[in-house]
Amino acid sequence: MHRTGDLFGQYQTLEQQKDSATLGMWLFLVTEILFFGGMFLTYTINRRAFPTAFGVGGNMLDLTLGTANTLVLIVSSFTMAMSVWTAQTARKKLVPVFLILTLILGCAFLGIKVIEYKQKFDHHLVPSLNFDISYRVNHPAPGDSPEEIAKEKKEIAEGLAADPDLNAHAQLYFSLYFGMTGLHALHMIVGVGLITWLLVKSLKGRFSATYNTPVEIIGLYWHFVDIVWIFLFPLLYLINRHLG
């Protein structure tokens, strides 16, 4: 079907087109709820079975970086919503501004993720790659504070007392950590790609008060990715933080 102006040939009106695109995106997001949902179920069953290992594993995540990432993503949702507003109110020059801000924040999130993943790799916390939760405490890096190492050592010892198979169960935790944050990061990368495409179009002045559907529906996708992280953060990072 060909396009004449903003209207694609299978539609009768722009309203029908916008209605279809929006409903389509919402339905796609429902599929994403169920897609991530399968991993949330796996997480639930495993955390129920191995609470100690999940607690120990969760405390090995960097709370500062995780919190920073959460804040970054929330602000990026704000800037994305603002870009939709600028398109709706025909502030054509501002649309790319907010899109660029969203892009920067999105890339910041991914950058922080890379740092976190690298940390895990250095600490032998990547499943199937010589996974060993005790590696860090047995081979502390020069920059590690002795109190932190001692705390973690104590935690691991207590964990092993409660669960002799702590290492295997913690590997399950980290499989879920990488699986869920990895899938999330993949969705972020796709989102970054889509927003880049929006940016290019917006720089050409493509979006107006009468035609801004792509901005809105890609915004919906971006907000959804934010929502997934809103749940991932407490479930992965805040399991047993109160242990001192």
Binding site: Q10, L27, F35, P127, Q171
Partner: protein, 560 residues
Amino acid sequence: MSGTSSSPGNEYQLPREHYINATYGIRSWLLTTDHKRIALLYLAVVTFFFFLGGIFAAMIRIHLLTPEGALVSPETYNKLFTMHGVAMIFFFLIPSIPAILGNFLIPIMIGAKDVAFPRLNLMSWYIYVIGGCFVLYSFFTGGLDTGWTFYTPLSSIYSNSAVTPAVLGIFINGFSSILTGVNFVVTIHTMRAPGMTWFRLPLFVWSHYATSLIFILGTPVVAITLLLAGVERMFHLGFFNPAMGGDPILFQHLFWFYSHPAVYIMILPAMGVISEIIPTFARRPIFGYSFVAASSIGIAVIGFLVWAHHLFVTGQATYSALAFSFLSYVVAIPSAVKVFNWTATLYKGSISYDTPMLYALGFLGLFTIGGLTGLFLACLGLDINLHDTYFVIAHFHYIMVGGAIMGYLGGLHFWWPKITGRLYPEFLARTAAIILFIGFNLTFFPQFLLGYLGMPRRYHNYPPEFQVLNVLSSAGASILAIGYLLPMVYFVWSMRYGRVAGPNPWPSTGLEWKTASPPPTENFHETPVVDWEPYDFVNRPDLGLAVKPAPHLAPAHGDD
């Protein structure tokens, strides 16, 4: 030819321009966004996978002619039933009616020019083909021996077959379903012609709407499940591995959360076909339209609540099993509503036994048997004995073959004139339908007996006392094969030599019969405005039928 509205000697001509000859060349087909051409692209690949699955079935039945197994080694036998299941379920049954008939008909039935997202529609087809290629790669580089259910830890650790490309292929194929589901739901919501209200929609559309709900809500779960199993296999993770703290039962929950609703994906579209065929060949409005429509949604929703009946023998507590057993009985109710309503539609109808009607009548009986035997399995005590026996196999083949495939073939015959502009040869088609019915029952009824007597499924051999029934079943399969091959031959023949059908050969009442056969690319030369009720044979003088009002219905302009 019975049921035509043409006067004797009236020869139709094919329209000068229609969707098939509108543009030429392979690019115009491979890059099409016309839902009708996409439907035919699907027809080609779906038929290929049906053929492939059928070959595996033939090998299974030949192998089971003797108690020790006549044809292949035990390991190869495992591969045969696995590949038969994977090809048939994921690449034949699930796409068949929705991707072919649904794609072709839904926009026309609602008076639209195309689906809401035509390019996404084409992408769905490519995704289907790519997924299929991965699975074919698996089949031809060692095959697959885990059963189509991929239970762990066999699939994730111990199997030496080509599991990873297969799960990848099915994962990819899932997105084809998901996108088709999204496309259909949006199309039905936003693209209906003026006057086409929800309760004027053909029941075929309702059933595809319900199917699409399952596509959207269920498929993503099997996608993540197979992804997890594949990743576990590749990287030796432990989600489903007991030695590493993992849980095979978790895999089963995740897998069946989709795969049970998947069986409703396979049957609901066929039910939609039956709801179109029976009123047409009984010349009667469907009995209880709103109940049939609501029952489609009911099946889709309740179908999501019963999956753990596949896990009855895994050590479930009685309370949990009772809940799922009860819900499994409940889900039979909307299906029963449909069967009652179809039967009531036949009552005092003016029935003609054209080929589509033969398939529909066959569906009524065979689906009923298949559905009722499902209740046997839902009964906890019986399931202990029947689980993983040939009883289960007979049950689901009665529904999937006796139900879904007969619905598919009935639909293909019913809409063939619309799709191609030509009629298939009626006598040969009726003969094939009868051969198929006989072959089907001979193949699968003995399997109920075998299962009840205790023959396990997925076994390459069996005790000698089961041989007679197995031979009967294999004999039936050879007759069934003829029933399938005949349509393949005469459909192809008809595309060139079949009688030109005209716009409404049966005749029937849907919007699709108001446009030319084959339709123009844009479906209608003018957007239709709908002001009639569905299946209203009484108030449609343009059909040329002498139909009296049905006794059980109030007159159209109610006066008592």
